[in-house]
Amino acid sequence: MTHELVAHFKLAKKVRNIFLELYVLLAIFYIVFPILLLIVTSFDSRGYIGDILSIIPSLRWYNEFIGSSFFINGILTSFFVGITATVLSLIVGLSFAYVIVRYDFPGKSILIETSMAPAVVPGVTLGFALLYFFARLGSHLTILNIIIAHLIITLPYALRTLIATLEGFDISIEEAALVLGATRLRAFLEVTLPNIKSGIIAAAIFSFAISLDDVAVTAFLTDVYTYTFPVALLTTFRRAISPIAAVGCSVLIVIALCMVCAIDKSYGLERFVGIYARRS
């Protein structure tokens, strides 16, 4: 190959890379700027959303937020629902994922498609259907209805992560335990489980995030006493939007940041990309 051609390649590559780097920088700004703006607004002391340059900084709305039983109640409910639904999702999902990954049997692909279906159905359709279903069933315990709904919507995401994790786990380790005389259950609990811990943590965070963000399904199932945090936040939007909504969203931003860091630490964002793409 001539030197000229090589030089040409290098130049073209350089030009391309400069544009790409600039674009990436711009994209990071595009993603981060709205988030920062929201956080800055949450420290405004005015009673309305005014222009950002004349902000009077204070913790006024943070105090109001902490003192508001309406929001605190919502946060507590959201955490209770999120954690319960996540734990259930993990238990149900793990036994399902284990069978899917380990064995081949008739109807397997249909089973997988079915389990992923809740991720495809629009939230409002599911919420509307569950509203009727629970009313007909006579199930008036709102918190239980919401937990069941969240179990349904988190299951596909938990499953996806668990299936990917189990696929990445070297089966021969488990087989070694079996050969050495462990029962199947003991091999799973003492050998497999500790090895896929990071995947389980990632699955838990993923499910919890889905549960914490849901509005479309939950909005149909709440009542005056039992509601989740995002539903509470959204009701304040119907009146004039006040900075207290920005405080609530900032709290969620901090939680999101913690979740990303936790996934990065335990599972690695790199591997998580692959899991996400599986859904598609």
Partner: protein
């Protein structure tokens, strides 16, 4: 004998998930599907007779037809824009040599991914509003304020921001899979960077692009929070109509029919338009 026992054990382990899905997911949806073929008879009640009148009345009421068209238009516009915006970012994540900048981008994208939808909507409310950043810049330049909030454009801008991380993450693996030697051979054979991209990289990443498009369409067709915040009741999408109009009067006949139009729209985009294009499987 041992074989059958093992087979049964496999099904039993699947059973909890399956029972939950059938009982609390498939059954309720099937129930309102049935109701959508019966006439409305008051809150939570439907008549006996089998009828298509709910579906007919959807397509004869102009506000519902407009809403369906608007929903599809907003979903299509925002999904296409998001996928175009996402592609270079996915390319960067898949190919970047600098691990630190790549890590920062990846982290930012996941941060956006896990950020609440309401928060993302509120952020853009602060940017697009009458006292928002855009109007602040315009007035400081001596120009007139513009009204973007509560318009279709506002909803689309918000949705693009919401689905961008989904699009980026869907495209990355398909670019990672491309054999770098293919690109090099095209370059050696005399194609320039642009031509190589158009004829080699882009076609090979098509499965990722269609996966991204279908994910984005599924999310935007079902959008609920963003049109609520940024549309302010003036740009209602299908989900909003179902929630506002049908929940209030508990009309499960028409509401059920509307839910199914929405579900059908999502499924059609997911399986009919997109699926043949991609070769990615669940497992």
């Amino acid at each position: 004998m041992h074989g059958t026992l093992n087979l049964i054990r496999r099904y039993i382990l699947c059973l909890p998930a399956l029972i939950i899905l059938i009982f609390f997911f498939a059954a309720p949806i099937f129930q309102i599907f049935i109701m959508s073929f019966h006439p409305y008879k008051g809150p939570m009640e439907v008549g006996e007779k089998f009828t298509f009148e709910n579906y007919i009345s959807i397509f004869t009421r102009s506000y519902l037809v407009n809403c369906i068209i608007r929903t599809i238009r907003i979903a299509a516009c925002s999904s296409i824009v998001a996928v175009i915006m996402a592609y270079p970012l996915s390319y960067y994540i898949a190919k970047a040599t600098s691990s630190i900048r790549r890590k920062i981008l990846l982290f930012t994208i996941f941060f956006c991914f896990f950020n609440s939808t309401i928060g993302r909507g509120l952020s853009w409310y602060l940017i697009l509003g009458s006292k928002g950043i855009i109007n602040l810049i315009l007035t400081s330049l001596g120009m007139q304020e513009i009204r973007i909030l509560h318009s279709e454009l506002a909803v689309e801008i918000g949705l693009v921001y919401v689905i961008l991380p989904f699009a980026v993450l869907s495209i990355v693996p398909s670019i990672q899979k491309i054999d770098p030697s293919l690109r090099e051979s095209a370059l050696i054979l005399g194609a320039n960077e642009f031509k190589t991209f158009i004829h080699v990289t882009l076609p090979l990443s098509l499965p990722g692009i269609s996966a991204a498009l279908s994910t984005c369409l599924a999310i935007t067709l079902a959008a609920f929070v963003i049109p609520m915040i940024l549309g302010g009741g003036l740009v209602d999408m299908l989900s909003n109509i179902i929630y506002i109009r049908m929940k209030a009067v508990l009309n499960f006949a028409l509401g059920g029919a509307l839910s199914f139009v929405l579900l059908a729209a999502s499924l059609i985009t997911m399986y009919v338009i997109i699926l043949p294009l991609r070769k990615v499987k669940w497992t």
